[in-house]
Symmetry: D3
Subunit: 289 residues, 6 copies
């Protein structure tokens, strides 16, 4: 069964199997599901329905499938929703029919992925909805649960958000410390430009309009990160840049402030909270044996 990913969302398919194997091993431990082995007769069949108990945006259904298939390669799965779908409370997501012990053993691992990633997707979608009247986009950061970054970045996409860097190696992001040690904005951009290849973007963090002006003058940057600026300053930054740089607003942006920030005309709002503090979405696997 080929994984069915959310359209327009990026994820190496190899991440799915690797993450599921690690999580199943973590839950099954050495002896496996001793409760089901002890109490469920060999060969018992189970029918199960995966449901969203609360409304939200789905992410992680391919991992649910992978967990079930790993423990019962003959399991039968019928898909009712896919990743990226926004669903109402009590929506059936998937119907499963297979070996009862396998379904019970896979249940918690499957739901932990689905609840966590749908939680991230739902948090992202809330942001997206609030700024839908503007041209701004929401993006995530590298503030992710260790070991789950690729999956959480995928979940942000499922919720309609965009991705920032996946790691320290796929774009240059110059922060205050880099600027200081390199001798200022002009100097640091010159250094970065000199070694960056032509397929690497350069972003630089600025705290003030003066710094932003120096970035524009120095050249070489693709994106400026406006760090903790107030709304008025952001508006002037948008005017000053006039499309010559992509502008990303960052720093403590919440659902309460998102719309106002987006209305300043910036291109991106970045939020660590949509990954590091998104509450779980309540999902369940209702079994009939």
């Amino acid at each position: 069964m080929t994984p069915l990913l959310c359209p327009g969302a990026f994820l190496s398919p190899l991440e799915i199997d690797a993450a599921v194997m690690r999580a199943l091993a973590e839950d099954l431990g050495r002896a496996g599901d001793i409760t089901s082995t002890a109490t469920v007769p060999e060969g018992t069949r189970a029918q199960a329905i995966v449901v969203a108990r609360k409304a939200g945006t789905m992410s992680g259904l391919p991992l649910v499938e992978a967990a079930l298939l790993k423990l019962d390669p003959m399991v039968s799965i019928t898909r009712h929703q896919r990743d990226g779908d926004a669903v109402a409370a009590k929506t059936k997501l998937m119907t499963v029919e297979g070996d009862a012990r396998a379904v019970l053993a896979a249940e918690r691992t499957a739901l932990n992925f689905l609840g966590h990633l749908s939680g991230v997707a739902t948090a992202a979608a809330s942001f997206v909805k609030l700024i839908a009247h503007t041209r701004a986009r929401v993006c995530c950061t590298r503030k992710t649960a260790p070991g789950l970054r690729a999956l959480e970045k995928y979940a942000v996409r499922c919720g309609g958000g965009f991705n920032h860097r996946f790691g320290l190696d796929d774009a240059i992001l110059i922060k205050d410390n880099h600027i200081a040690v390199a001798g200022g904005i002009t100097a640091v951009l010159r250094r970065a430009k000199a070694v960056a290849g032509h397929l690497v973007k350069i972003e630089i963090e600025v705290d003030t309009l003066d710094q932003l002006r120096e970035v524009l003058a120095a050249g070489g940057a693709d994106v400026a990160l406006l760090d903790n600026m107030d709304l008025a300053t952001m508006r002037r930054a948008v005017e000053m840049v006039a499309g010559k740089l992509v502008l990303e607003a960052s720093g403590g942006i919440t659902l309460a402030t998102a719309a106002a920030v987006a209305e300043t005309g910036v291109d991106y709002l970045s939020s660590g909270a949509i990954t590091h503090s998104a509450p779980n979405l309540d999902v369940a696997l209702d079994i009939e044996m």
Copy 2:
């Protein structure tokens, strides 16, 4: 530098290195920290202070140390707080002195562990505080971020909570489906007892006092999980059991309801939210180069 764990909290030391290596690899990718390589001169030294920006209970400091040591084996670390400590906002946790590129490259990985685990510890500690006037204890569930269970269980301990099963293999927990398929409570307990070894506890989920009565009559259970019972029913369960079983209250317990549940006289309150929905604690690494 030997990891300094929270006293009374359980964690295999091998988990620390394994988790840190996986997380660093995830962040450094193929090319490493290209920004610092491009902008920070070779040999630059950095001094840094790890701080808690908000008040909370610490968990994850040994992983911060491991991440720093992995990238700079000669880094110098001074500990100001340890895991399990409850600290005020703006508390200095650790002072670091080492290679600037290494400290910058380790920063995000280190903080992701510390912020996530301290978030869990702080959530657990909030629960613990609310029921400190009772004899009840808080415990976690298997609703954890995939791949991070051992660490999150450790964080619950750092916050003063207790641990439920680490996986499907270290205790028997009989739920409604097991009861149904095995032919009732008496039958399922007989089956479980027949195969469980003498070092495996048996817990059984009950929805009603009738079920609880059957559990007591059947014998063989160590713990009963009171699933979504109201307060009055829980109080009667406590009376009925009279210490012959450990009682765990479960199902949608929140900070708002925890005290009332604990006051019924149950032994444990279990909460999935303290692991799966704990918001990140705001921590930072302030660098001076």
Copy 3:
């Protein structure tokens, strides 16, 4: 082909694939089975029968299947016996039909698992048989071949035995050193009880009846390990405890002494020898090409 485990025996299914892959890699090395590549024509078919040359209790047949399937995913397997079956000498266990080179390459790995685990199961079964007239059970220890613990524990179950701890993390076992450093039995049990969760059993080792008395008085223990006691003392221990603790007899118990120990009324006899010194069971794979 789903693995068919011994009923009532515990093993994570993930252990099977992982162990088989590691063992095949160990045997095939870099160049694979150079003898068969050199001498057996491509496409040659083989029929083979897995047999027990000596009488014994089977354990490891799912690993035999996994090894064959890994090297020939189209191999056809007919099961004649399953794990946990006690068979006579010269019993056919499995018929195999597949690619000759694959069968030859998998042979030694498959038989090493089957011979080793059936050896353990047969050793366990010998113990079980000797004490079948009593209520005592046989259990294993952590004295297992490094890297094979979960499999050997499963084999003990196949032979009718029970499992002790799978590792240092799934139960508390307090030994003489712990007692000494903690300041005595009462103190150590208080410490253990204070941090153990409600799903963790506590066992304590005692050498004398005085110690056992202190354990009973202190409370908190689930199991007492009677270490190297003589039969008379064990009998008095059984009387003294009167069902308030599970009693495990340990220390140099052999097939010669097992019945007498069991007749004292203890609940468990533990034996390291059934895992660490069980001789291989003689099994073979007879091939016709």
Copy 4:
């Protein structure tokens, strides 16, 4: 601390760390040594002596050291014996001084390696002693515990034995099935010789003197394996070959028959039992805290 291997015994040093890490992870599981965490105060020191309780030939001391060092990198170790030494009962092998929790947590893993490998070495040494008056050598087979082959082969060397193939890829061993499918001894040797490189030995199994004669006539073989021949036939095989081939006697050779087989003049006696059925050597770690 560099591993100190038995002189003249072969083992990749990378095997030591890999095996020890796998075994420690298996024993420590997710939560680590919960008993010691619960009962031994942080910072407690331990002195311990590793002893052989029974007489035997040592193998595995470098793995004991590696296990201790992994859990306490500052542990102090004094070596009294080394691998390959034959020691009397109650011999002190090593003195250890380090963190008490670490020593307790490493104990079982360390002893499992030492007891198992010394068991193999002692079994090999028994064989070696029995045939010391002849020019024959003892060697092992591929009948080893899955995942432990390199270590068990090393243990055989520690006991004075020699190694057969480490895997299917490092020598050609032509058995009856290969002969049959290739069309006879002359044909199979021609095929093998045609593809074998100049650094690969060719051994061929023979059941009769007629087969041995054909091997000699065909050329190309380096070693002939005399499979289950009686003593008289083996003596005639030795005469017939007259040094033109190395002769290996195989098939059910026991301590009772070894001397007689060796006295026939064959070069090697191979025994599966010295690896697959060697009983554990009784070793212990006596701790004082």
Copy 5:
């Protein structure tokens, strides 16, 4: 000993250890260096000099160090050259003093890294030198030895070249098939722009000036890859683009044609041959024991 990388070259330090461990395991196999174990007395010391026998640009010295340190953690290393240095034939690169067996066992692994990576660096440097009079840069492709990409990309930097994408995930490169299936250049760029985040560059391959014109009109691309264009066409492409896009010339560029291509005014020349067909640089480790 902290790895000393080439200044301005990108490589995750975690890649070094992982690659060296894999390569040592590959070479040492199960039994390790049996020749040295058999013939070099325990404790023998060796002094060795790593030399470049031919002139070239160095890459891989940190891997040489890592291989030596892994087998002898106490080895003493004196660095004479570093990665990125262009050296004459017979240049001493490093002096080593350590355990003779360890140095001999590490030798081939160390030299295989150094010879291969220095071969790539030298190939890159040859290109760089030929176009030094222009503003063009040389870059590599994804045509690398499987499993060695990060190291080969690092080697290209050591030779003065630049890096193209490290993988399919860190930049968008639209080729003819993507254009065709998406319905043309304008359509494909619209699709790509719609989902690409702000830290992902977009490159598009063009065969003709008409296509290039459409790329300019459509907007959204950062880089155009001029695929197999002749010099005249490339010159017109440079004029047409006038700095509004980065231009990369690709397709069969050799040392013979590099200067002419660079003189057309393009920004980058990409070459698969500098990674996939660079001959080894002749390096050696001269040992004195």
Copy 6:
């Protein structure tokens, strides 16, 4: 789909999957093929032909298949050639029909294996052809790309060459340093013979005929490596040895000198260049979507 290896070439089938998984992970990174995800509609089908653009000897087709199957388990593959076949330029090797995104994502990984290994096979075949009129054979060395040794050794076989040692552990090769430290040729051979098992060949390097004479006199060696001897000396070595040893000529042998060396009568010519410096064979995957 079972891998179809070159007849008479040795490769553990486990190497194929492991190498392909590592290479795909390297190329797909965290987010996978973002270009195809962005531009190719879900469910698009692709037909593709794998072709050799230049003439050469094939090696690596099973890895091409494995890469395609990993990303699209339902892909349909038709084989036109197999490993070991010598093909003309523009030969179709394989026809593929499957999911377009999967084929595009697997393309570069598949071709990197095929181009690299066919390059090695083609280099080996060139050598083989030049000496086909003699009885000499070509063999490789341990000078291989780190991590790819088993595959490159297989490729040498595909080209008609033979393999030298796969690692330090599968044969003894005594070099000048070993001779020196052991006290001369006679002494070193005595030591080697004393510990080598009967399935391990012994090769010794000699620079002069005097040394060769000593090797013959000492006995115990199977192969002599003639290191950098001139043709006349090699001829005298062949005469002197008269079939009592296998002779391997080594040291800077090129295509220009191969025939002359082979005509001296030596048994093997070894060449590092056929692995470490073989240029890539130009292969492509032509896609139609």
